[in-house]
Amino acid sequence: MKRIVPLWITAIVGLVLIVSNFLPGTRSWGEEATTWFGIIAAVAFVLGGGSLLKVHLKKISDRNSGWAYSMIVLGTFSATLAIGLFKIGVAPNPSFPDVPWSGDVQGQGTPFWWVYEYVFKPLTATMFAMLAFYIASAAFRAFRAKNFEAVLLLGTAFIILLGRTFAGYFMTSWIPVDGPFSGLRLEELSVYIMQVFNTAGNRAIIIGIALGIAGTSLKIIMGLDRSYLGGGD
């Protein structure tokens, strides 16, 4: 029972969705299923919050190392959640001022917006901006032209890095634009690499991935691949 029901659910949903592509009469079934999917995806956000709560509560109760940080996680989590769920400080929708819950919780000026603008945004954006530093250090310490393949890779990277800034234009601006060697101007060369070599390589990768995905999906729908149910049969 524990295994059979999920397998049937996967098979039925999968088949309905595939069939709805070819039989117009069943198209609405497909629409229905994908809409439900979206709702479940939204519930998954709730699940994410719940799991976070569970993990950090456990850390605190076990007094794991760094449990104080778990307190911060829980504190900011609960505060944000309360502000958002109860629409604290949100003015009603101007078209319906008599419905207090009609306001836009994400609207500019609300406390929830404040959390986004001054906490969420700077933190996530800076987290990602750090990668520029790491990439610089990796450039110095890790990217080695140890064989012909690596030379090709780094050489292409140089052309792209130069060709996609003013430096490329500046360095090869002496090559006449309409002469026979105009293709050697760095900005032209970078376009050529992207549109021919990169396109060819990625096209092969894309075709391969598409085949792989079709194969995997088939196995999942047919119940041959059950890894998503966790730990083998």
Binding site: E31, T34, A41, Q106, A125, A136, F143, R164, T165, T199
Partner: protein, 347 residues
Amino acid sequence: MNLIDRMANLDRRWIFLMMGLAVGIPIIVIGITGKTLPEEPTPLAQAAFDVLDGLEPGSRILMAWDFDPASEGELGPMATSFIRQCAQKGHRMYFIALWPVGAQMIRSSTSRVIGGYYPDLVYGKDWVDLGFKAGNEAVIKTIVTDFAQYFPTDARGTSVNAIPMMEGITSLADFDALVNASAGYPGSKEWVLYAATPLKKPLIIGCTGVQAPQMYPYVPNQVQGLLGAIKGAAEYESIVNNWVRSEQLLDALESGGITEPTSSELAARFAAAPSEAVTWTTEAAAASMSPEAKTKLIELATAPIPGIFLEAQRRMGPQLVAHLLMIGLIIAGNIVFFATRRRGGSQ
């Protein structure tokens, strides 16, 4: 310890500092001088512009903002320019987001561009914010055939039936073009696979540098315009800025009594070289224009472009210095590597 050994054991924090300075100093210099590097548009950016430019004013454009603050540095300027072109052209814009934070991205880009520079556009008639919907590619797959199923209301809670510009929108097939700014999954790849390919609709993509190479194979059959990374943004931005200025100049010339085709030629000329507008107004050809129209024309031709429409071009400065630093670092790293290896390795 000689130089090579010192370099081999260089503390990475010095490299961090170099990167910080390589990005920080150009920002300050450009911020104070206000000068940006010139942009030569590549065909892909031009194609993105041409697709939107080729549609009749009033066309319905779906704007899918699938990114978050982490990628706003690259995609924010693209979003700004997309909206600017559509607003200037008179297209109707429909904003949606498949990323939870995308809804905020819609709000910030629309309030900056529409709120700041096109206040005469009416919400619900010229643009509508349909907000975020969960479900990733399932959202796209559904709205390809049925729009209302996923979007019963807009982001402000108004039923789509009460929004004038939603009239006649039953599915994605009713749009004239799709524009997508994407930072990952779900994003440009999903729009290509689930919407543009089956519907055969024009799709314009602005994406991060990480995704861009993987989108090239789709050009030009499945993707008509592709802006990759900040460079793509800067190119497109400069095209749109020039075009908007020449449109404004054209308006000024025509209201001053100059007719086609002279007006178009002049507008294009002045947009490229603003100073020519000043000299032209003193010539005989401009005699028919009223002094007010002339002042307006000169004002439009010489007015600086608002700062928010130069964001990507400003960022090309730090980009240039940082790229050179990266190349220098890779070369230096390899010199150190080969030098130590020849001596039998230091490890």
